[in-house]
Symmetry: C2
Subunit: 218 residues, 2 copies
């Protein structure tokens, strides 16, 4: 990471920035629908309650420059943001564990619009094997090593019970998976070069319940 | 919030703590399955790679005390954590927007084990009205005010398209919803006393894609 020819896309962008950029994207999409052709960071700022200077700073990671007084061109900003965030090219993924949440994610075709396509799922329950959910085939976990070659996938979505979360993670990594999207409430361990993104719906519920309870008694 | 009789549950617990507590819970559940009767913060620390002092500090928010040398009693710790996190009593919720993600969440019965039960959903698409997903009835959005009385619900799950995210939020709040679980990538605005929990799967995807890309080129 020491050469100056480094493509902007390969910068390790701060996580808070990466989390805010999709807000700007959705906001700019709305402005486009309203017929706007240009948008400034001040304008976005007013809509979403984030400092204009913060927005300008976040957008400085993205390869786009605004024009004085008129701001960013809306269509370009949308295209550049979608590209930068990885939403405009499809990343193929496997899903492990077709339980309630796993099945739900398989049936959510919306992820495809944000660059993720689940192409196959794995489980061990006999009644699931050979079936499909939303057109996605379900294979036996033992077939994973074979299928990973066939599909050329490097992302794994983890929706297994907590007691096997670590074992399945190890199996994924051994098979060549480079990024794990972990939906379990279990804190998995991976080698340093493997990406883990935790999305614990349960942790979010815990925060929401606590705040709700707090508001009710204060 | 100035009296000392204040119940521990009503403290405004820091968000990072609330996000870590479910890790401890799932870890302790695993230890129980393995036949353990007592667990120390040092033991949890080894398993999940969080400082033992941090774990002890986080657990100090919860109404439980460990015994010197043996630690926390496993069954009690599980029960107290589940209770503290709000997982052991059911919070009834409405869902707004039965699209791809909304429908997926309706079919995820697993949320019930963590204290959230979606009891009805709202949409405007004629072909959905009067139908059910996973036993959950779908009503017309116009019926929300009537249904909120009938069901006594104060949590709303938001899975509508971004262009109506703010309008539906305003409608929810006007109808008496006190907490919004926002799955849209849109940054909604609410009055001060309303809880918002953002769960943007798309922002998580953006972070994962960026890290994966970074690892591949570094």
């Amino acid at each position: 990471m020491s050469n100056t020819l480094q493509n902007k896309e390969t910068l390790r962008v701060p996580e808070p920035t990466l989390r805010r950029l999709p807000w700007y994207l959705s906001n700019v999409k709305l402005l486009k629908q309203k017929g706007e052709h240009f948008v400034s960071s001040t304008q976005i700022s007013k809509e979403i309650n984030v400092d204009a200077s913060q927005i300008a700073k976040d957008l400085s990671y993205v390869n786009i420059s605004g024009r004085t007084r008129v701001g960013y061109e809306v269509d370009t900003l949308i295209a550049v943001l979608e590209d930068f965030l990885g939403f405009s090219n499809i990343h193929r993924a496997f899903l492990f564990g077709v339980g309630s949440l796993g099945g739900a994610l398989l049936s959510d075709s919306g992820l495809k619009h944000f660059g993720l396509e689940i192409v196959a799922a794995f489980d061990v329950k006999p009644q699931l094997l050979g079936t499909e959910v939303n057109g996605i085939p379900i294979f036996h976990s033992d077939d994973f090593e074979k299928k990973v070659q066939e599909y050329g996938v490097n992302i794994g979505v983890l929706t297994v019970p907590i007691e096997i979360a670590q074992r399945i993670t190890d199996k994924m990594v051994a098979g060549g998976i480079k990024a794990v999207w972990n939906f379990t409430p279990f804190r998995i361990r991976v080698p340093e070069n493997i990406v883990v993104q935790n999305t614990s719906l349960y942790a979010h519920l815990a925060v929401m319940f606590n705040r709700l309870n707090f508001n009710e008694v204060k």
